[in-house]
Amino acid sequence: MNRREFCKKSLLIAGGLVVPLSALELFNPERLLAEKNDKSKTRWVFLVDTHKCVGCGFCVKACKTENEVPYDANVTRTWVERYVITNDGKAHIDSPKGARDGFQSAKLDQNHAGMEEIKEEDIAKAFFVPKLCNQCENPPCVQVCPVGATYKTNNGVVLVDRKWCIGCGYCIMGCPYSVRFFHPVYHVAEKCNFCYHRISQGMKTACVDACPFGARQIGNLKDPKDPVTKVIMNERVNVLKDEYGTKPQVFYIGLPREVK
């Protein structure tokens, strides 16, 4: 191969590269990236007080019934984790059936590794942490959906279109909080949507209503008078896994560093 041929071939290859790349230009970017003018008056956020949670699991029970997630299926839109930190600094965590029935044993359910017993005198601290979808400001699950079957509404809630989802599972993989799963009946991606049917008619979510201890609250971050907004603005709150850049919108009071 001489130099001339080499140049010719290199050009050919470079030209070839352009073909697949130009395929990405199917849409007019101006139309697509329409200015994000934030006119919405609502931004739903959630506030969890980990001190108040006692792990009764009424929230999980109510959520499963309210949102028609089969009660005995081992998936759930919201769940409660129990953390027991022993004196050696080790964290022992469990969430049997997502705490649908609360925590029925002092032993920790380690799945295949059996039930773990921890002596009372070994416990340095222990607490419960409710989890649910963080309705992220930058939801990675929405970014990776190949067909536009999941999206963020103007009030911040991430929804799944059950009629359009192809069930590829990429969103499930893309969520750092593992809140998504396949619905056992509809066979599409499923997730917590802050009980969208309830909050849109002025009600609280089913889990907030079910919680006897006030550990869970929902509020509108755009409303400065909202008690939830006040707490988030004026007190020391934290979020889960902010290192992923997802900007989660579920805030926690008293979130210890052991929480995963």
Binding site: M1, K9, L12, I13, G15, G16, L17, V19, P20, A23, L24, L26, F27, A73, N74, V75, T76, W79, E81, A91, I93, D94, S95, G98, Q110, N111, H112, A113, K131, P140, Q143, V144, C145, P146, V147, G148, A149, W164, C165, I166, G167, C168, G169, Y170, I172, M173, G174, P176, Y177, S178, V179, F181, F182, P184, H187, V188, E243, Y244, G245, K260
Partner: protein
């Protein structure tokens, strides 16, 4: 039952919704795509760069790449929860997702391969169509073929010297365009995994490059293997047929496996193998050295849970042994076959260790998940995402290849070559 629950064993703390959602079919997807891309790159080595020694295997690997093509898509459709909605990827693509471009890249690539095959075989299509048109007393198969070939010519009946030269130029150009597209097709299969920030094992910018290199390795390996096997099979088949029809070519006239073709191809295989291993080792060393937050759990998966799968099956049997087999002097066909089988195993295990290994630990970094491959299916799901579903995907390209080789001659007899 919840999707994934059947084949997932959880240990310690795993988030309630975590299961092995991406199972065997997602292992098959990059594996098969890799074979497609690899087979195409091998054929292009001859067409574009004029590696004359690869001439025999080039035509073969081009057709084989075409036969493999549908099987790159098959595992994806089999793993979808709503397979009938698969077309939506083409209808409302969301390009911020790495999967969205699949439909477009895949079809572009498919068209390029199909067009290249058309140019290679156009002369044959025309001649066959003309021959069949004149033939009297056609069998059913021949009647079918006499209808098929005119369609396949796309109405281009000109087979003058001038037209054939144009064909050859087109083949060259398409092969040149095809290489980057094939690499893109596969590299971005790597991007699908590498860009998942929620997964500590997958997220690395090296992923697409590692995928391309191992793709070429596996593609070449499969081509060598299939080339040798089909050549030998042909000899046996012809020997049997010749008893009834002595006019058929004899063993000497049939082109048999030529060791120089195999040696030459194996050289390319070793080259890409070195590249693939270097990148994989670089990735491992980098993770060990930087030891970020996720390293504790990754170390437990890599060095303890999956030790046998990674270091014995993938690196040992799949890389080191074939390396020794191919590089020790005096390569024989038998040794090459063994080496290529092991290379295929190695690449398959690499896909497995990435896809399944990436789901072997909880996103909480506090527990593990183990994948138990469903063997005996008891419903559609355990069939699709079990051993038999995977076998179905593996067998399909060979069935297609058999069908294609009936329409167009993949092998050349000695007297035909010049």
């Amino acid at each position: 039952m919840v999707h994934g629950e059947f084949w997932t064993i959880k240990e310690f703390f795993v988030y309630p919704n975590e299961y092995i959602y991406w199972s065997i079919q997602i292992v098959m997807y990059p594996f098969m795509t890799g074979l497609v891309a690899g087979a195409f790159v091998l054929s292009s080595l001859y067409h574009v760069f004029g590696v004359e020694k690869l001439k025999d295997i080039a035509r073969f690997s081009l057709v084989f790449s075409f036969a493999l093509l549908p099987t790159a898509m098959m595992p994806l459709l089999l793993h979808l929860q709503q397979p009938l909605r698969g077309i939506e990827v083409m209808m409302t693509p969301h390009f911020t997702s790495a999967i969205a471009a699949f439909g477009i890249v895949f079809s572009t690539y498919g068209m390029i391969v199909a067009a290249e095959i058309w140019f290679v075989y156009r002369k044959f299509f025309v001649e066959a169509a003309l021959a069949l048109r004149e033939k009297q007393n056609k069998t059913t198969l021949e009647t079918l073929k006499s209808k098929l070939y005119p369609i396949l010519t796309l109405g281009a009946w000109d087979i003058s010297e001038h037209a054939l030269e144009a064909d050859e130029r087109a083949v060259k150009r398409l092969a040149a365009i095809g290489i980057p597209v094939a690499c893109f097709l596969h590299g971005y299969a790597g991007f699908i995994f590498g860009s998942v920030k929620a997964n500590a094992l997958w997220m690395t910018p090296l992923m697409p490059v590692i995928f391309i290199c191992s793709a070429v390795v596996s593609g070449i390996a499969l081509c060598i293997l299939t080339y040798v096997i089909t050549m030998e099979l042909r000899k046996i088949l012809y020997a049997r047929k010749r008893k009834n029809d002595p006019a058929l070519p004899t063993n000497d006239e049939l082109k048999s496996v030529e060791i120089h073709v195999v040696t030459m191809t194996c050289k390319y295989l070793v080259m890409f193998l070195i590249l693939a291993i270097s990148l994989e080792i670089l990735d491992l060393v980098f993770r060990t050295y930087t030891a970020v937050k996720s390293w504790d759990i990754l170390r437990a998966v890599i060095y303890e849970k999956d030790f046998v799968k990674i270091f014995i099956m993938q690196y040992g049997l799949g890389n080191l042994v074939p390396f020794i087999l191919l590089l020790s002097p005096g390569l024989t066909i038998r040794r090459a076959i063994l080496a290529t089988i092991l290379v295929l195993l190695g690449v398959f295990m690499m896909r497995w260790n990435i896809v399944i290994g990436g789901q072997a630990f909880s996103a909480s970094f506090s527990g593990f998940m183990e994948y138990v491959l469903p063997i005996i299916p008891h419903d559609m799901e355990t069939f699709k995402e079990g051993l038999f579903g995977a076998l179905m995907v593996i067998i399909t390209p060979f069935v297609l290849f058999f069908g294609l080789s009936n329409i167009m001659p993949v092998f050349v007899n000695k007297s035909d070559t010049h």
